[in-house]
Structure formats: structure tokens, C-alpha cells
Subunit: 299 residues, 5 copies
Amino acid sequence: MKTKTKNWFILAFQIKGSVIPVIYQRVIGFGVFSFIISVLYYFNLPVSQPIFASIIPSIVLGLLLVFRTNTAYERFWEGRRLWGNLGNDARNLAWQIGAMMNDIEPEDRAKRIAVLRLVAAFLVACKLYLRSEPVNRELEQLMSRSQYLQLKTINNPPLQITFWIADYLQQQYQRGNAVLHYSHVVFLQTTVKSMMESLGHCERILRTPLPLAYSIHLKQLLLIYCLLLPFQLVKDLGWGTGIFVGLISFTLLGIEEIGLEIENPFGYDPNDLPLDTICDTIKYDIEEFISFTTRFQLK
Amino acid sequence: MKTKTKNWFILAFQIKGSVIPVIYQRVIGFGVFSFIISVLYYFNLPVSQPIFASIIPSIVLGLLLVFRTNTAYERFWEGRRLWGNLGNDARNLAWQIGAMMNDIEPEDRAKRIAVLRLVAAFLVACKLYLRSEPVNRELEQLMSRSQYLQLKTINNPPLQITFWIADYLQQQYQRGNAVLHYSHVVFLQTTVKSMMESLGHCERILRTPLPLAYSIHLKQLLLIYCLLLPFQLVKDLGWGTGIFVGLISFTLLGIEEIGLEIENPFGYDPNDLPLDTICDTIKYDIEEFISFTTRFQLK
Amino acid sequence: MKTKTKNWFILAFQIKGSVIPVIYQRVIGFGVFSFIISVLYYFNLPVSQPIFASIIPSIVLGLLLVFRTNTAYERFWEGRRLWGNLGNDARNLAWQIGAMMNDIEPEDRAKRIAVLRLVAAFLVACKLYLRSEPVNRELEQLMSRSQYLQLKTINNPPLQITFWIADYLQQQYQRGNAVLHYSHVVFLQTTVKSMMESLGHCERILRTPLPLAYSIHLKQLLLIYCLLLPFQLVKDLGWGTGIFVGLISFTLLGIEEIGLEIENPFGYDPNDLPLDTICDTIKYDIEEFISFTTRFQLK
Amino acid sequence: MKTKTKNWFILAFQIKGSVIPVIYQRVIGFGVFSFIISVLYYFNLPVSQPIFASIIPSIVLGLLLVFRTNTAYERFWEGRRLWGNLGNDARNLAWQIGAMMNDIEPEDRAKRIAVLRLVAAFLVACKLYLRSEPVNRELEQLMSRSQYLQLKTINNPPLQITFWIADYLQQQYQRGNAVLHYSHVVFLQTTVKSMMESLGHCERILRTPLPLAYSIHLKQLLLIYCLLLPFQLVKDLGWGTGIFVGLISFTLLGIEEIGLEIENPFGYDPNDLPLDTICDTIKYDIEEFISFTTRFQLK
Amino acid sequence: MKTKTKNWFILAFQIKGSVIPVIYQRVIGFGVFSFIISVLYYFNLPVSQPIFASIIPSIVLGLLLVFRTNTAYERFWEGRRLWGNLGNDARNLAWQIGAMMNDIEPEDRAKRIAVLRLVAAFLVACKLYLRSEPVNRELEQLMSRSQYLQLKTINNPPLQITFWIADYLQQQYQRGNAVLHYSHVVFLQTTVKSMMESLGHCERILRTPLPLAYSIHLKQLLLIYCLLLPFQLVKDLGWGTGIFVGLISFTLLGIEEIGLEIENPFGYDPNDLPLDTICDTIKYDIEEFISFTTRFQLK
């Protein structure tokens, strides 16, 4: 219990992972502006305008901020669900390729293991693609040299990898029922299709931010709201106006900024999805699965 | 970091993509009306009525605006999801046609390429249909002359294109298992069916706006709210009433207008979906796929 | 732009489609009641009770109204989605029956056209059933005399029509693979099943309003809120109390009434779904499809 | 129109179906407590504490109540959807059993009719199970004596009935394609599976209320809020405090109570789902279907 | 009725299951801090600052708390749904294995029963895995000694169990149609796949808490809000400030804490899902099913 309470306070003051590093400049900016208003007030200029409080109803601003928060979180969570699906599909496909296909010729086993590694490569390629990074060594280790060179010239690498997997399945299927029964091939291709679709949906989240008009309108309201604040408060707070307007702007800008940050959850921000961990887990699971089927000679 | 903060302020003042060009007239209108109230107040007419503040509770107006915003955004996002599905299905179908069908006679390849282009044509036709535009040169390049002429006479061009694709599949299937195995045909037709359905759902979004009664009621509340504002504020703001009522009406009308704009996300507004980009990507992907299968002689 | 602003004001004053015709009596009622309070106030009775403002927190009332609005709109939109599905399924089924079945005997074509019309008849029958109207001439034109007479005696006509369509498919299927391949029949029956299910879901929306306790509780809160209003406002508004309480009650009762109106979206209200248009479109599409397949002799 | 307005007022005063019978004691309790505060105030004790208004922000309480309302309604509506699915599946299964299976031996027809009645029995058994009632005469009429006796000893009767139906299908299927084609059996078993799943989801709704901590926390907030109310209002309302605190507590407790009532929608409360009506409709439909197939000798 | 009202009050004072044991320290902390402010006020230090009320608008804090509550509850409810699916799938799979497979050799029955127990073992293994507990005696009883030993060395035990089940199905299927018809195997494998997927989704809920930035930002706002409270209230409440600030912080911290507690619903908290009960029910159902099929010799 004690630890829980202690943790609570420690977390409240944590800076890494919070939005403070991103917004502190704007917060200071509004604070300095407010301090200037305090100075003007001190010299008896007519800057005290409590009526300004009714210009932007805080309920309207609050509801817009929550709308922004909700939509951003929904994208974050949908992104997480899609990567959950990718992981599920990768494991499923690995298992299905392991269990539903029979090796006839000696080189079949090697081919099968190569395809299992391509399944892991697909996830890595998705990660790189969603981060707009070129193919790298992590991918190179999971495929043949010729495939890697081909991938370097291609616009959409993960899509190409699904084509390879699907072609492999189709070729095995065309060798006859002894290798892969026709009632299974649709089951397998459906999993590949589902992986392609998850990729497509991730792209959708990546390429379609909140409609621009909302972002602009929200920023405008925040700007007007924070700039009007010192005029309302200077009479009561005097020299403290700067600090308090800073606090309020921190509250509001923080909510907006988190929304902005998690709206595209595929990057390197501390609040983004742990894509590297997910990819590593799947790579590990698939290698374990390969060594397992080799050791026990399941088929 | 610095750039981020700078960008934040630049975005807050951006006019292109914001709703300012659409609503500035109404905002000025309410401002002028308020200015007249200031004049009347100056001549000591009894226009100051702070009690008017309680006529329309701002919470009710705020919640209605958020309801409007949510429903509009849901349509926008559903529209985006449907176009994501269309893109996914087009790529899938292209791949499936490439991988699951075998050429027997020499002209089969040419027919197959023609159908792959029809898949891209479907998306272009959807785009034109949802924008109520006639078939154009963009479509002409993706199909035969006779198909194009037929399409010109038809009410629902994209639906017709799916009929062509589905008929092609059905004809190939009826040539026997050597061309297209019967276990695959349902897989392929399901993708075509899914494309038809996405089109139908886009039509639904296009043809069913928010129930009229809500639009009217919301406009009435906004009108009453903004017209009562100067009476509440004139006592405190004096000659500034016009400017401040303008600001408030800008806040509220802006939220309503964005809702109106993204409710139908298939048009040319700056906040609409980038349908042209999506279509171009798919056209490019399919041409790449065609040249790829020709070069490497996959089959 | 100018037109847009003009339209905005025109729409704000539109009466057709708004809820004014339904609620004006209640609004006048509350106005008259408030006027009586003004009279009592004029004669110095102790009717001014500003503290009444805190009896029903406007936030609670506002949130309940929004809950009501959301649930009603969700039903409206689900109803629209179901009719979108019905339209999609009807088009799909028509195309599937056209493409996947082969005519062997001469009368097969006539039977096929009759079934295509039954698909359109299903939508019309749904429309009538959801509006609690008897079968009518519109239906009579889409089926044989004997079917029409049988339908007149039956409790759930659209369900009966799906039985006919499904039986037709089952009979064709039992004639052998030359007529309808067994891998296709599940594809076709799935579409029929989906139509039955959409009908079932429409019935659910029709027969299950918002739980009665919510409707009653909301009405009670609205009643108490509006009856307490004049006591709060009479001191400040004097003889204007009646007009302003009318305005406020108009705001609130309007939101409740729209919810009530769109909760069952299958009727004839101006805010209901355009079921007649949807049915006409599908009838037109299917007739075009029939004439098209006859002209071009697709099979 | 007039009727509508009249109905509106009648409904607002309706007691049956409202929550008044359940909460009136608590409401009176808070009223009496407030009256005591008035008495103390009359004797000049320092009970007037307007500042208490800020202890529990009404926005927080309101949002929690709405959260409670939303989750309860979602369960209600999901329960309704599940019963819609059960009805759809029962009708579908009846039709599928009627159309897709062929009678070969004379007793096949009798067996088929027995199974159709079991489909209706499944819904009745679900209803009883969700209400924790034992099997009764209503069930007895829909099955054989031996089945009924077996059911009496079993923990989960509806699950047992789906086992019977599924076993029947499996047995027919194993008699060969002439009775039930193998392409159909998955279609039929899928419907049975879907019925089992709907039952499982109903159990989930029944057995998982809102997390206890929310219920307790909400009750605590309501209790504190209502107990602090008379201290805030006694100065302005004097002897009327009791009545008005009663009104306010009625507002708030009513919202909580409705949530509680519809959270488990399978009982006998006036606001629960009309399970009896749904079961009767399906029983009627299936009997009509049986007599229909017997009369017209469909097969 | 009386009982209901009594229960209502009893529940409101219940401590077990409420968040009081977790948050009482923080609540006391804020209370003591406020008491110190009272003391300072008593010595006429300028600690009374009513204007502080506007620093953090309670609407913004309230909406953030509700956002937190909603997302936490959605995870809780999704977790419950996934476990509902796991239960459904386990029952379905048990029934399918019981009904769709035929025993040919004598040891087939024993193998079948072993697999049925593995289905129950899967749920138990999921429970342990989600609670980060090692495999234990409960699992040992449901599988062979060698399987148990193997499981001890493996990273993801439930995944391994699904591999065993799926391999068993695949092996039976490869023995030919007499044992398991090929049209059934996809039906069975789909259920296994669905179980794997539910496990993957539970992992997703477990491993992805609310983005850290939200947790931190919310804690910061709560901290600022509660620390500013005594300055606002001390003037009016005097020595009572401590108690009342404690009450308010209890209200707010309680809502946050419940969110935290149900966000990961797989643990041992009183508000977590009853995973033990669900597992026991499924174990019981499967044992009943085994004894039932043995007794009646269904096949």
C-alpha cells in the first residue's frame, strides 16, 4: 500500500514520458506574456477585464479537448489492435505452415524454414515502412540475399513479402493434395490476406490525421483562451499572474499535445507503441518454433 | 523542439484548410449586430440584460455541438475506413488474379491484364460516382473503347465494373479447374462482393446527412445564443462588444461548420479525404504488379 | 460562399422538417404558465425564488438529453446501415443469381427473372412490414398472382419471400452441378441469410424503444425544470418571462422530441429514412439488370 | 398533434414502469433529514453552509452518473441484440433444416419436426436459465418425455439442447450426401454454434455487473452530495428545504436506479426485455413453419 | 422494496471491494496539508485565495477523469468478452471433438479424452500466464506427465497447448475421412485459431496500459487541484478545511484509482474478473461432457 502511494507521487513528478519537454516553451511564453500584463497593471493601465472569462466558455473548450483526446486514443488503440492482429496472424501462419504442409522432397524443409522467417520479416518490414525507414540489416538476416536486393528497389516492401509468402503457398498447393490439401489452402491464404489488410489499415492511421480544420480551430481557441486569461486574473493574482497562467496553459496544452503525440502511434516517442518489442517477440517465437519442429521431427 | 513550438503558432494562424473563409461573413454579421447594440447602449437604451445568459445553458449548446462533431467525424472516419478497404481489396484482388489463375491460351494473359486494369478503374469510377462527376479520360485509359462507351450510358458505372470483373471470374471458373480451381473462386468472388459493399456503404454516407431536424435545431440555438450575447456583454465591454461577440460566434460557428464540411468526406474541400492520392497509389501499384509479373514470368 | 451563408440563415428558419410543428403547444403552455407567474409577481406575491436554479443541475439535465440524443441517433444510423446492407445484399444476390446459375430448360429463364423480382419484392415487403401496412399493389406487381394471395394471409410477408428465394436456390442446386455448382450454393444462401438477419435487426429497432423508465424520468426532469424556471427569472425579466421561458423550453423539448422522432426511423416523418427512395432504386437497378442480361445474352 | 402533447404529459406522470416505486423511500429519507436541518436552522443553529456546494462538483457527479447510465444501457442493448440474434438464428435454422435435408425413411419427417421444436425449446430454456428458474411445463411441451426428464437433472439445460440439435445434424450428415450434402453441414453447424455463443454472451452480461468499486463509489458520492444539500439550501428555502432536497435526490437517485435495473435485462422488471414475447413469437413462427411444410409437401 | 433500500445504504458503506484501502493515505495526506493551511490562516497569513478556483477548470478535470474511466472500463469489458469467447470456444471445441470425430482404434477414445482435458488446460494456462504465475498443480492434473514437464520449460505455455490440440486435429485429419471429414477440419481449426487470437488480445490488454503521458498528466492535474483547494476554501470552512478537502480528494482520487485497478482486469483485485470461477465452470462442463459421452456411448 505504502509503495503504491509513494509510486503515485513519484509518477506525478516524472518528466520522461510526460509532455513537459515538448510544451515547456509555449507554457513559458504564455507565462511571460502574463507577466507583462502584470507590469502594465502595476502601472495602472486598464488591463483588468474579468468579463473576458465568458468569451470562450470553458465547457466548449473542454469538450473539444476531450473530442481530440478520444479520437487520438482511438487511433492509438486501433493501431495497437492491428499490431496485435499482426502478431496473432504471424503465429497462426507459422503454425499452419508447420502443421498443414508435408515435405516430400529433401529441399522442402529448407524452403519451409525460409518462409517461416519471411513471416517474421513481414512484421519487421511493416515496422520500417510505417516509420518511413529504408530496409536494414534486421531484415537482411531474415531472407535470402537476392530477396533483400530486390526489396531495396521496391516501393512497398512488406506488401512484396506477403506476395512471396502467398506465391509460395500457391506453388505448394499446385503440387497436389499430398503436399497441401485444397481445403487448407483457403485457410492459409485467408491469414495472409488478413496480414495484408492489417498493413493497409496501419497505413490509413498513419496517413490520415485528424481533419486539419479541427487542429487549426482547436489551436486558435487555445491561443485566444490563454491570451485572454491574464486580463481576467491580473486583478486578483497581481504579480503571481504569470505563474498561474503558466499552470493553466500547461494543463490545456498538455492535453492537446498528448493527443498529437499518440495520434500516430508508430514512431519513436516514449508514448508510442513498442513495435520493436513486438517484432522481437515474434522473431523469437518463430525461431523457437523452427528449432522445436526440427528437434521433435513433428512430421 | 523549437521547430515544433514554431509550427504550433504557424498552424494556429493558417487560413487555408481552416473554416475562416466559409464563416467570416456570419461572424462579421454578428459583430455588426453587436456593434449596433453598443450604439444603442451608448444612447442609454435598455439593451443591457445580463440575465439573458441563462436562456440557453452553454452546457446544452456545448453538448449539442459535440454531438454534431462526433457524428460528423464518425462519418469521415468510416468513409476513410471504407476507402482503406477498397484499396486493400483492390490489391488483394490483383494479387489473387495474378497468383490463382493459370493462362492456357495465348490471349489469356492479355485478358488478365485488362481485368487488373479494371480493378484500378473501379476505384476511379467510385471516386467520380461519389463526386457526381461523369466518366472521364482517367477512366478511359483503364479500359477498352467499347467498355468506355457502354459506361457512359449507365447510371452506376462502378457497379457495372464489378459486374464485368465478376463475370470474368465466373467465365474463367467455368472453363475448369485447370484455369481456376473451384475452391478459389469463392475466395475471389468474396473480394469482389466486398468491393461492391464498400461502394454501397460510401453511398449511404453520401446520401444520408444528419437528420434535418438536428441541423435546424442546432442552427436555431446558435442563432438565438449569438443574438442574445451582446445584450449580456454590452454593459461590461462597451464599444468592444462587436469584436468579442465576433470572437465567440467564430468559436461556435467554426465547430458547426467543420462538422458540416467533413460530414460528406468525398468532395474537394481541403478537409476531405485524399481520394485522388489513394486512386493514384492503387493505379501505380497495379501497373507495377503487371510489369512485375510480365518480367519475372511468375507462372 | 455568399449562398452558403444565405442558406445557413434560410435553414435556421425552416419549419418543415423541424420539430416546431410538434412541440409548439407545449412551448406555448410553459410560456403561458410563466406569464401567470409574472402577473402574480406584479401583484407582489412571493414567486421570485432565484435559489430554484440549483434544484436540477443543468449539467445533469444536459447530459441526460445528450444520452437520449445519442441512443436515438445510434438507432437511426443502425437502421440506415441495415437498409444499406439490404440494398447491397439485394444487388449482390441479383448479380449472383444472374452469373452463377445456368439455364438448361427453356422455362429456366422465366423462373430466374421471377426470382430476381422477388428480391426487389423482399425490400418492398420489409418496408411495408416495418410500417405495419398490409401488402399492396406495389408488391403485387413484383410477383405472381398466387404468391400475392398467399402473402395476404401471412403474418410476416418478407420472411415468407426469403423462404421462396431460398427454396428456389435449393431446388436449382438439387438439379446438379450443371445448373448451380455446390461450391456456389453456400455463397448464395449466405446472402439470403444476411437479408433475413437485417430484417430481424430492423424489427429489433422497431420493437425495443428506449427503456420506459428513462423516457418517464427525462420527461419528469424536463417538466420540473421548466416549471421552476419562471420563479428564477421573473425578478429580472418581469413581463418578458413568458417569452423567455418559452424559448428555453423550446430548446430543451426540441432536443427530446427529435430523439423520440428518429428513434423509430422507419416511418413517414420528414426525419425518417427515405425507404421509398431506397426501394425504388433497387427496383430500378434490378429491372435494368434483367433487361441487360436479356439484351446481351450473357449466358 | 394534440394527442401527442397530451400523451407527453400523461407519460410524465406515469408511475408504472418508472422508478418511483423503488426509490421513494430513499427520497423521503433525504427529505426528512433536510426537514430536521430546517428545524435546527429555525433554532438558529449554524447549519447554513453555502460553501458546501463546492465539495462535490456537480459536473463530476453528473459525468459519473452518465457513465453509469451508458454502461447499463449498453448491456441492455447488447442483451437485446443477442436475443435478436437468437431469434434470427432460430428462424434460420428452422428454415435450413426444412430446406436442406431430405427425408428418406418414413420416420425422418417426425424426427425433423421434433428437432424444429427443440429449436424453439432452446429459446425457452435460455429464458429460464437466465432467470435462474427450473425447467417447466412450457419446455415440456416442446420435447419428448425422456429428454425432459434428462434436462431436469442437468446444470445448463439450453447448452444440452444445442448438443441434441448438433448431434442430430451430425447423424443425418453421416448418413450420406443424399440426406444432407457435406457442403451444407458446416452452414448448419455454424448456426448452431452461433446460438451457443449468444447464450454464452448472455451469461456474461448476467454474471458480470459493473465493477463493484464503481457502484460503491457512486453511492458514496450520492450519499455525501444529498446529505450536504440541506446545509447549502436551508438559508434560502427555509421550511421548503425538505421538499426541494427530496426533488433533487429523486432526480439523481432515479438515474442511478434505472442503471441498476436495466444492467441485468433478463428479469421481470417492467423495463427488462420482453423475453416472453420473443419466445412466443418464435414458437408461433416455428409451428407455422411446421404446418406449412406439412401442408404444401415442400419436399 | 425495504430490503433494496437497506441494501443500498449497506453497500454505500462497504469497504471491501471499494477503493478506500488503497487511497486512504493520499486522502489523509491532503487533509493534513489542508489542516496546516487552516493553522496558517488562523495566524492571519495570506493563504486565502478564492481566485485559485479558476486555475484548473473542474470541467476539464472531470472530463479527463471520465476519459480515464471510460478507457479503463472498455479494457475491463473487452477482457471479459475475450474470456467469454474463450469459454464459448472451449465448449464448442469440446462438443465438436466429441461429435465430429469417430474412434477407429481402441486407444482413440483415450486420446480424445486427453485432448478434451487439454482444452480445459488451455484456459487454466491462460489464467496463469496472464497473472505471470508459473505452471502449477491445477495444470498438472489436466495433462500427461511428459507434457507437464515440457510445459515447464516453455515461455508461452497456453500457446504450446493450442499447438498440441491443433496437431492432434491435423493428425486425425490425415488419417482419412473415416476419422474426420475434410469439410469439418477447417471448422475445428477455426475454433482453435479463435482461441489463440483471444489469448493474443488478452496479452495486448495486459501489456499496453493507457499511454504514460495521460497517466502522468492526470496525476499532475489532480495534485495541483487538490493542493490549491485549501487556499480556496479556508476562508469559509476555517478549521473544517482539512475534513472537506479530504472528502473532495477522496472523490477524485477514488475515480482515478478504480480506473487504474480495472485497467488490467486479470489480477487478484476484488474488482478483477473472476477468472478462477470461469476456469472451474469450464473444467466442470468438460468433465461432465466426458462422463456423458462415455455413459451414453454417443458414437
